[in-house]
């Protein structure tokens, strides 16, 4: 008999979105969007007549999860019965005494891997699913190291862990590390995983290592690869299908303002970005304004942001432009202006010598402010 599994991971329900949106409205919408994504995954499971839904960890953020979210999950899981919901807690939702996994009386169709070591649950007709749960936010144990299935047979793995072949960003620790070889050696036919926020199926043809990625992007560094996985066991082998269910998109880019005489040009330029994609998804953008603006261009970031409010869910702007002054020429000047520029350049050199980047940024900004003030020009608010 075939067995169907819908696999998701890294929902991060109730995650704070401070880096994405400045207003709580956008952040709340983003969090609601994560719940919607989970609902869509459960709907797909129902339509596809899946036997089980597996969740590869980081379902929610333990530090921020609200009672309301716990109730939401309880209802959703309960409504999914008799379809089984199997959870392998991750580093953001570890199984601890105080976690909702422990203190909530979950419906009987819900199974949570409570132990920090691999345990089996029967799926169907001798097919077993092995899994483990993180018991803390810093679970670095390599569970698959030296592990072998006690009896050779049909078995899949559900785990929140790090494929050692991936080079992670500085903020990603190697939680519960493993390798493809260890999965093979252990005797698993499939590894349904979580922890990596973009889809990753390896090998591509008949995947063994399956990360679905987070269903929705959680940051500007997560532009692509958000899906749920539809895994089907034919009785002899697994087939995997990834399905993009995201309704949000994050994009970042740079806009050179050197050629614009007024901020309308800048606004139009940003408005024209990712136009096609935006027609189907709600878009958050992060734009670095670069170049040397002309003297007539006033870069009022608040005004630009307001003008784009109907085009994007959120626009994060960063003024990375070069001040509109010829500093090299000014420092030759025998006036106070020249003396000021020389002093500031000395300060800047001192800060750079000391490796004090923050001080260097302050000095650069102060140089710009001083020259603007000498020209009696407006100094924009931060």
């Amino acid at each position: 008999m075939p067995c169907k599994i819908v696999h998701i991971a890294d929902l991060h329900l109730d995650i704070p979105f401070a880096s994405l949106g400045r207003g709580s409205q956008v952040s709340n919408a983003r969090r609601e969007g994560l719940r919607d994504a989970l609902k869509r995954a459960f709907s797909i499971a129902e339509e596809w007549h899946a036997d089980a839904i597996t969740i590869g960890g980081d379902l929610y953020e333990a530090e921020h999860v609200s009672p309301d979210t716990v109730q939401f999950l309880h209802r959703l899981f309960e409504d999914a019965a008799p379809r089984r919901v199997i959870v392998a807690p991750g580093n953001h939702d570890p199984y601890t005494r105080s976690s909702p996994y422990a203190y909530v009386e979950w419906p009987s169709n819900v199974e949570v891997f409570r132990d920090p070591e691999l345990r089996p649950v029967d799926l169907r007709d001798g097919l077993t699913l092995w899994g483990a749960g993180h018991d803390s936010a810093a679970f670095y144990t390599p569970l698959l190291e030296g592990f072998k299935l006690p009896q050779p047979g049909k078995a899949a793995l559900l785990l929140h862990g790090t494929d050692r072949s991936l080079s992670l960003g500085k903020n990603k620790g190697a939680f519960c590390p493993f390798s493809k070889e260890e999965v093979e050696t252990a005797g698993f036919d499939l590894a349904l995983l979580g922890h990596i926020h973009h889809q990753r199926l390896q090998p591509a043809k008949r995947p063994l290592i399956c990360y679905p990625g987070s269903p929705e992007p959680l940051g500007f560094d997560e532009e692509e690869g958000h899906s749920v996985l539809l895994a089907e066991w034919s009785g002899r082998s697994w087939t995997i299908e990834g399905r993009d269910i995201s309704k949000w998109m994050c994009r970042s880019g740079k806009v050179d303002v050197s050629d614009f005489g007024s901020r309308d040009g800048v606004i139009d330029r940003i408005r024209g970005l990712w136009k096609e994609e935006r027609s189907t998804k709600r878009c958050l953008v992060q734009i670095d304004l670069i170049g040397q603006p002309g003297r007539s261009l006033e870069l009022d970031l608040q005004a630009i942001r307001s003008a784009l409010v109907s085009d994007f869910e959120e626009v994060c702007l960063k003024d990375a432009t070069t001040p509109p002054f010829d500093v090299e020429a000014l420092k030759q000047d025998s006036t106070v202006t020249g003396a000021f520029v020389r002093r500031m350049l000395e300060e800047l050199a001192g800060a750079e010598r000391m490796g004090d980047e923050q001080r260097a940024r302050v000095v650069k900004k102060a140089l710009s402010y001083g020259l603007l003030a000498l020209e009696q020009r407006e100094i924009g608010a931060p």
């Binding site: 109730d14 995650i15 704070p16 979105f17 401070a18 949106g21 400045r22 709580s24 952040s27 709340n28 969090r31 953020e61 530090e63 921020h64 609200s66 009672p67 309301d68 716990v70 109730q71 105080s98 909702p100 203190y103 909530v104 009386e105 000047d333 025998s334 006036t335 106070v336 202006t337 003396a339 000021f340 020389r342 002093r343 500031m344 300060e347 940024r361 302050v362 000095v363 900004k365 102060a366 140089l367 402010y369 001083g370 003030a373 000498l374 020209e375 009696q376 100094i379 608010a381 931060p382």
Partner: protein, 1047 residues
């Protein structure tokens, strides 16, 4: 900026005139009323207009009307100028209209750019202010020099210096450092703010952050509370589940128990009936003992026990009497020995031991008092010996009575004062010597100086300068008159007259000789011409000589003023004044030193007089500081020795007093001891011996008491042995009596065996059987009651039915939950029932608490924001705060660095201006003056004068020198001003008119040098300037000569 051309339609005397200006030096030459000042005024008016505001002030209107064209031509014209950037503009003014129309246009495009500038009424357009960076006031006071106004700078000094500083600092009046600093301050104030400005962004963000953090804590607390509630809810749910299970168990146990209990009752009832039949058979077998007096059993047992006890006691006492024989003999020996000892000690029996502590205490006090007396006596002897060695001190004290009365401190103070006055006197002497030596370095005798001082004490350098100025002016005018009188023209005229006269006379003579009418006429004409020329020459000479000279009286007046001061000539006055000024400080120093010397001597005399008075010396008696110091030492020594003597006397008196007190105390103690011993019956011998005897008697008394106590103990032991024999006999009699009573009672009841023991055993056997019968009867009654209790009004059938019913109920529960079958309990039905009630109650409480928690969870969940939302807002606020801090830090740094850069720049301003003016003055005056000091506040110029230590104001210089200084000051200001902004042209109206030839030429060279960098317009009526220009610039180039006389 350079002026390119000026076209005048009509302006004063100038009509339809065009001037093309060279970029360097432009000299406008013309006589009086040739239009020099008019052209200069036109330049001013074209650049800045006539009116300063939108109202027509009478003063400005008067100026405007003064330059209204004489011929009725159009009043106005245009001026073209080129900025340093190369951009040229043309300004056209029409002063003829009421609104005084002004237009500004670009020269290269012809585009009218008037609207780019701020415009007002009366043709006011601020192009000059904007493009040149200087106000009209500053322009007129720096670049625009009119001969009459050369010295007027003080009124606008502040604005000028600020403008020049700004222009030299930032290159633009608009780019003012002050305004920039204000802008940075304002931006910081408005966009960041301080902790005190609660409405400003930074503080507002901080307040918001504080509020959010509080909210975060509350949300955290609510979350923790919710988690506790959730955990509690799970516990309660589990508890409710357990309670339901427990209730089911109890109900089953109750039902099963009921079933089992009924079955047991039925089975028990059957057993009881069988037992009842058995009892009935046994009772029948013992019924002959039904009347046995079982009640006597207790009294008989008691009598038997009494007999047994008496037997045991008799045997025990008999054994003790037998064992006491040897001990009794030894006891008798000891009693005899003690009696003898008591007889020996009997004499001490009446010693009163109660007095012993008092006598011992008194004896101890007596011993201490004896010791005190000995000590006091030794101390007194020692003190008296010391006193006898100090007798000579008394004699010294009487001879030094004066010193002791004055005291060492007063003498010490006198010595200090004397020392101080002596030192002051030495200092004054040194100063006087120094002043005298200094005085001798100058040539004047003291009397000669005092005579000079009388004449010149109120005289000042300014008065001398005034007199010298007047003298120079008089000399100058006199020289001019002489020169004029000796003018070559006059000599030529006189020569011409003489030649004409002589020639005419010669012609007349020839005509007369030759009788030639032509020669006669020619001769007459020549004579006439000669006469006319002679008359003219004569009249000129005579006019020169006879011309009333207003200055002629000036010299005598000046001389009279000099003579009034006691000098013949001004030079003598000046020389004497210089000598006086040099000697004056030395004289003052000498006078001060003498005065000080006098004061110090008087002070010394006063202190010597005070010393004599203090030491009671006759006036005039010699007294030196060493005498006072010796007296002070003697007074100190005497005072100290006298003090020692008095101290030892006080010690002797104290020792004497202590000896008397010790002796008195000893007497009192001995009297008390004697009385106490007498009370104890002792004799009146030596007190020490009597006390020792008393102590011996006390010891004997105590020994007697111990021996008597031992004797009493032996007596008691002996009495005990006698009592044992008596007791043995008593016990034997009691035993016989007890046996007799027992036998009598047994006989009364019908038991009479061979011995009392045998009869009593028979009695006991009958008693046992009678009691068995009684027990069987009681058991039978209890069985009957038990049967009644089991049946409880039910018939056996009824009991059977109840049992079937209970069994069915238990079976039903078992069918529903088969695991109940394994349940067992030792508890009673009542206990089970109580537990069931308790479980039901507990279940109710659990349900109520659960409902309460669910409601609370619901309420709390609905009432607060989610943690992530609050944290997002906090992070956002923290980012805003950090951005504001960064912004504020950058603004403050910009302000600080800009202010320091400006300070640095401004510090250089005055030195640079001083240098420019000083260098120019050095060139112009051929290095007579090489440096100046300019006051920043009022632009007042001070010059160091070689003869004086102090710099003097330029105001005390001659008019020509003053003009030179202030012209150079303007050139310096304009130079500095052009360092940062536009290089404005210098417009100078006959600036060199009062200058001597040398300085005149130097000044022109200076202007020529300046014209290499800046356009210079010089208006002059002096031909020498033209000559200089022509010799300097032979070829036409960047400089131009404009002859105004042509117009």
């Amino acid at each position: 900026m350079k002026l390119t051309s000026i076209h005048i339609d009509g302006f004063g005397c100038l009509l339809d005139a065009t001037f093309e200006l060279a970029p360097g030096l432009n000299v406008f030459f013309g006589d009086n009323e040739s239009g020099k000042s008019t052209l200069q005024q036109a330049i001013w008016a074209f650049l800045y207009g006539f009116y300063k505001g939108d109202r027509k002030l009478a003063r400005d209107t008067e100026v405007l009307n003064r330059y209204r064209p004489w011929s009725g031509k159009a009043f106005g014209g245009n001026i073209v100028y080129t900025l340093d950037s190369g951009k040229a503009y043309k300004v056209a003014r029409d002063f003829g209209r009421d609104e005084l129309r002004t237009s500004v246009s670009e020269v290269d495009t012809g585009r009218d750019v008037t609207k780019q500038f701020q415009r007002g009424k009366l043709g006011r357009v601020d192009f000059a202010q904007r493009q040149f960076g200087v106000s009209e006031e500053v322009f007129i006071n720096t670049c625009f020099v009119r001969q009459a106004d050369l010295r007027r700078l003080a009124d606008a000094a502040q604005e000028i210096s600020e403008t020049v500083i700004n222009l030299s600092g930032t290159g633009s009046q608009d780019r003012s450092v002050k305004k920039a600093l204000e802008r940075l301050d304002e931006t910081h104030r408005e966009q960041v703010g301080t902790a005190r400005a609660r409405t400003k962004p930074q503080q507002a963000v901080q307040d918001k952050l504080a509020g959010l953090r509080r909210e975060l804590e509350e949300v955290q607390a609510q979350r923790d509370a919710l988690q506790i509630d959730y955990e509690r809810r799970t516990v309660l749910l589990k508890r409710r589940q357990d309670a339901a299970q427990r209730i089911a168990h109890l109900k089953y146990l109750l039902a099963a128990g009921q079933r089992d209990r009924l079955a047991t009752r039925i089975e028990r009832l059957d057993g009881l009936h069988l037992r009842k039949d058995e009892l009935r058979t046994q009772i029948e077998g013992l019924k002959e003992l039904a009347a046995f007096p079982l009640s006597e059993r207790e009294s008989m047992s008691r009598l038997y026990q009494e007999w047994m006890n008496a037997q045991r006691d008799t045997a025990k006492v008999g054994r003790a009497a037998e064992a006491a024989g040897p001990e009794r003999a030894a006891l008798t020996q000891q009693r005899l020995r003690l009696r003898e000892e008591i007889q020996l000690l009997d004499a001490a029996r009446n010693v009163p031991l109660g007095h012993e502590p008092a006598i011992r205490a008194l004896d101890e006090r007596r011993r201490r008092a004896l010791s005190d007396v000995e000590g006091a006596r030794a101390a007194l002897e020692s003190t008296q010996a010391a006193l006898s060695t100090m007798e000579p001190v008394r004699e010294r004290a009487s001879s030094g009575a004066v010193l002791l009365r004055v005291g060492p401190q007063a003498l010490h103070d006198l010595g200090i004062g004397w020392n101080s006055v002596t030192r002051d006197l030495e200092v004054a002497t040194e100063e006087l010597g120094g002043a005298e030596r200094a005085w001798r370095t100058q040539p004047l005798a003291l009397e000669a100086f005092q005579e000079l001082h009388n004449r010149l004490g109120t005289f000042s350098y300014e008065t001398l300068a005034t007199l010298k100025g007047r003298k120079a002016e008089i000399d100058s005018k006199t020289e001019a008159s002489k020169a004029k009188a000796m003018s070559p023209m006059r000599w030529v005229l006189a020569g011409v007259a003489l030649v004409a006269l002589l020639g005419g006379m010669a012609l007349l003579l020839l005509a007369f000789i030759a009788n030639s009418p032509t020669a006669l006429v020619a001769g007459s004409v020549a004579v006439g011409l000669g006469l006319v020329a002679g008359v003219i020459a004569l009249s000129r000479v005579l006019r020169t000589q006879s011309k009333p000279n207003a200055d002629r009286n000036a010299l005598p007046t000046l001389r009279a003023e000099v003579v009034a001061l006691g000098f013949e000539t001004l030079d003598e006055l000046e020389a004497s004044y210089q000598v006086y000024l040099q000697a004056r400080p030395l004289y003052d120093q000498l006078t001060r030193a003498e005065t000080m010397m006098r004061d110090r001597r008087e002070n010394l005399a006063k202190i010597v007089s005070a010393g004599r008075e203090m030491l009671e010396l006759a006036p005039g008696t010699p007294l030196a500081l060493s005498d006072v110091q010796a007296a002070e030492r003697e007074a100190i020594d005497l005072t100290e020795r006298l003090e020692d003597l008095r101290r030892v006397e006080r010690e002797r008196d104290q020792d004497d007093s202590q000896l008397q007190e010790a002796q008195e105390a000893l007497s009192q103690v001995e009297a008390k001891l004697r009385v106490t011993l007498v009370l104890c019956g002792l004799g009146e011998g030596d007190l020490g011996d009597e006390v020792d005897r008393f102590y011996g008697l006390c010891e004997e008394r105590r020994r007697l008491e111990r021996v008597e106590a031992d004797r009493r103990t032996l007596d008691a032991t002996s009495a005990k042995y006698e009592t044992v024999d008596e007791e043995h006999e008593r016990e034997r009699v009691a035993e016989e009596a007890a046996r007799s009573r027992l036998e009598a009672e047994l006989r009364r009841l019908g038991f009479s065996g061979e011995t009392a023991e045998q009869a009593f055993r028979e009695f006991e056997s009958c008693c046992d059987r009678a009691e068995t019968l009684h027990q069987l009867q009681q058991d039978s009654d209890a069985l009957a009651r038990e049967i009644d209790g089991i049946v409880i009004g039910h018939s056996p059938d009824q009991l059977q039915m109840e049992q079937s019913s209970a069994s069915l109920a238990a079976q039903e529960m078992l069918t529903a939950e088969p695991t109940l079958a394994s349940l067992t309990s030792d508890e009673t039905p009542e206990e089970l029932q109580r537990k069931l009630g308790s479980a039901i109650k507990e279940d109710g409480e659990t349900s109520a608490e659960l409902a309460s928690i669910v409601e609370r969870i619901s309420l709390v969940s609905a009432g607060s924001r989610c943690l992530a939302e609050v944290e997002e807002e906090i992070q956002s606020a923290e980012e805003t705060s950090a951005a504001l801090s960064f912004h504020g830090e950058a603004l403050l740094l910009a302000r600080e660095q800009l202010a320091e850069a400006a300070d640095e720049h401004y510090r250089d301003f005055l030195p640079r201006l001083n240098a420019i003016v000083g260098d120019g003055l050095s060139v112009v005056t051929d290095k007579k003056y090489t440096e100046v000091q300019i006051d920043h506040a009022d632009l007042q110029v001070l010059l160091p004068v070689p003869d004086l230590a102090m710099p003097v104001s330029a105001e005390v210089l001659s008019r020509g020198a003053q003009e030179q200084v202030y012209l150079l000051l303007r050139l310096g200001l304009a130079e500095l001003m052009s360092g940062g902004g536009e290089r404005l042209p210098l417009v100078l109206d006959d600036p060199l008119v009062n200058w001597d030839a040398s300085r005149f030429k130097n000044a022109l060279e200076l202007l020529a040098e300046r014209a290499e960098r800046t356009q210079v317009l010089v208006f002059t009526k002096d031909r020498a300037t033209v000559d200089w220009f022509k010799s300097k610039y032979s070829a036409k180039g960047d400089h131009g000569l404009h002859m105004l006389s042509a117009y």
